[in-house]
Symmetry: none
Subunit: 214 residues, 4 copies
């Protein structure tokens, strides 16, 4: 890792918001495409730029480093997942636990189903590249989203904290999703996945919720 000599604020022009956005997208897509062929450590910036069809210098107009690109890719998709979760809650009106959780899971699976290969890459990248800090904070963000969903259910006891239940449930859901998509071709059987995850998630929730309240 070539150390930056001073610590001056690196004068690199960040391209205007204009249509030049294309390059950014092209770079990200090239990156994901390359990740499909070889491990992260062997993908060079030169190669990414080449596949993206932009100049080498242009890469640096959009990203500070390969790591930054990886983080951006992961972050983008992670955010999409989180937003899907949040919007589920705000779009389904009143809901009981089973319905709310099923809806949220359905929503996520619909997203995966649209591009299973890319999501496989996402989970791989996330495993390999998101640093511990980012991983933990994203984890907490998900737990929080699930907690809100659970506590918003009509049949969840008003005063019972759902944090721990949400954590366990999310761990299960996340693990199932990640593993299924990581397996690659052929893509997962999304129907079975939906059924199993929904059922197991609810069971976990009940088991732990009750227990904690003991």
């Amino acid at each position: 890792m070539p150390k930056r000599a001073g610590n001056a604020p690196k004068p690199r022009r960040k391209p205007v918001q204009s249509r030049a956005q294309e390059s950014s997208r092209a770079i990200q897509e090239a990156f994901v495409r390359l990740l499909d062929e070889k491990p992260y450590g062997q993908v060079t910036i030169r190669e990414i730029a080449m596949v993206a069809g932009v100049g080498l210098g242009t890469f640096y107009d959009y990203f500070d480093s390969r790591e930054a690109l990886a983080r951006a890719c992961v972050h983008l998709r992670t955010k999409a997942l989180l937003q899907a979760l949040a919007s589920t809650q705000s779009t389904i009106g009143a809901y009981d636990l089973a319905a709310g959780i099923a809806a949220a899971i359905d929503r996520q699976i619909a997203i995966f189903e649209a591009a299973p290969r890319e999501w496989g890459q996402h989970f791989l990248l996330e495993r390999q590249k998101s640093d511990l800090k980012y991983y933990l904070s994203a984890y907490e963000a998900f737990v929080e989203a699930w907690r809100a969903l659970i506590e918003g259910a009509s049949d969840w006891p008003q005063d019972q904290p759902a944090a721990e239940s949400a954590r366990i449930m999310f761990t299960l859901i996340y693990g199932m999703f990640a593993h299924s998509l990581l397996r690659g071709r052929p893509g997962p059987d999304f129907g079975a996945l939906r059924r199993d995850v929904t059922r197991a998630a609810l069971a976990c929730l009940m088991a732990v919720g009750t227990g904690t309240a003991r």
Copy 2:
């Protein structure tokens, strides 16, 4: 001319099985120790050798590359976990589902509890360095071990396949363990972890097992 044509099997002296094993162990320990201080990408081989108290060349007597060392470390611990699982089954005599699973979980947690920091490193390393292929095969090995445990329980229906149930249950358990240990200092509350995991695992098992049999 460092470019080695891919013909001869590279005549590198692999030290005999004797007590020269020490060096190998020292290198692995040095590696884990260093991983505690800085991310994988910043740990140089020279540094590992130095901390291990061996010569640089000696490193290459035992491992082909830093990646290989990482893989070996991960594999070692993964194997230990798998063996613990298998031996649980063979040491507890007759058991019902709840007791068997609880015993297996206890066993694993006992292992983690003995060296939580190292296991945290293990899970981080595994996330970042084991390649997809290894990850998937280890995953299947664990699923298989859990399947055997479940099917060996006195109260599990003779003819019901436990593979899918085991998969889901393992995903939950693995996720919980990994996440807890990944969080680093302070180490996890193993008591709570044991309780939550055991309870959730059983609940999952029931929920999915029943469902599949529909």
Copy 3:
């Protein structure tokens, strides 16, 4: 992980044909200059780059390795010699054997005379670094050029093949040149060399030519 799997064609930027050619020339000159001071095995790439006044990476923009540089240097000069031979024939109009051979030898000697030190380096490098395959093909190219020259002489029997005669004659000429230049300081007595080589070459040619026709 320096081990490059042999799949992609290594995306190294080969600078365009433009006047960036300078660097290539500078590197070759630096190499020859260094070779004058120390044996091949002790000339490091870093040193070559430094003497050439280019960056280390720039070396690799133009040559794949030190060996490749050596081969390129040898090839360049070998080609020059071959071209001189070919052009001799096309520039002297009609000629008899003695005149043609004398002209060709004169031409080559003139080239050596212009830079005896460098040509000494050339023959040394060629001995030590050109691989067998290259050596043999260059050899044949020279034989072929001499054959053409001989057969083009007005007094060479129309239907007599000159290949074998050319081979022997070239072996003599090449050996004399190489050895004379290899001896280093003081440089060869080019006058004597010209006289001896010319005389011996013709004698050989006669002796063998006659014999073969027996």
Copy 4:
């Protein structure tokens, strides 16, 4: 080239003249065998020892370095050739020029004919590894031997120095031999070689001898 720290007289036991000579021979043979498969630069000492069936340390009991081994191999064969030349003269009694030269050439060719592959290796090694100094001194030794042979001929003018004639003649002979053997499989047509070399050598000798005396 790891520099030797001090310049103390390196205390390594040189094996006694006993039957342990076998190892030395085994090492040399292994070296030549390996040279048949890959270029000098890629043959490691470890490999040589392994193929020779001796321990790594044993190599150093017999040779100081790979270069020394190469030099020894070259020197051995060069010496054999020189001795053959010298002994030719002393064994054929009185001789005229044509007979003497023919006998010497025959003698050398007989030697090559006994092991063409090995002699091919020899000439390759000699090209690539004998340093300039050794090359020049060996060259002079040969020239001297030929000079003696020429001057010893009954029909060579008493007071005419043969040095220059010998030099040219040897250059031709050596070039022809080396090139023929370097070409590898199939081995040279020794009959044709003998005829061509003998004829050309004599022609050269006459041409130059006369000329110099002019």
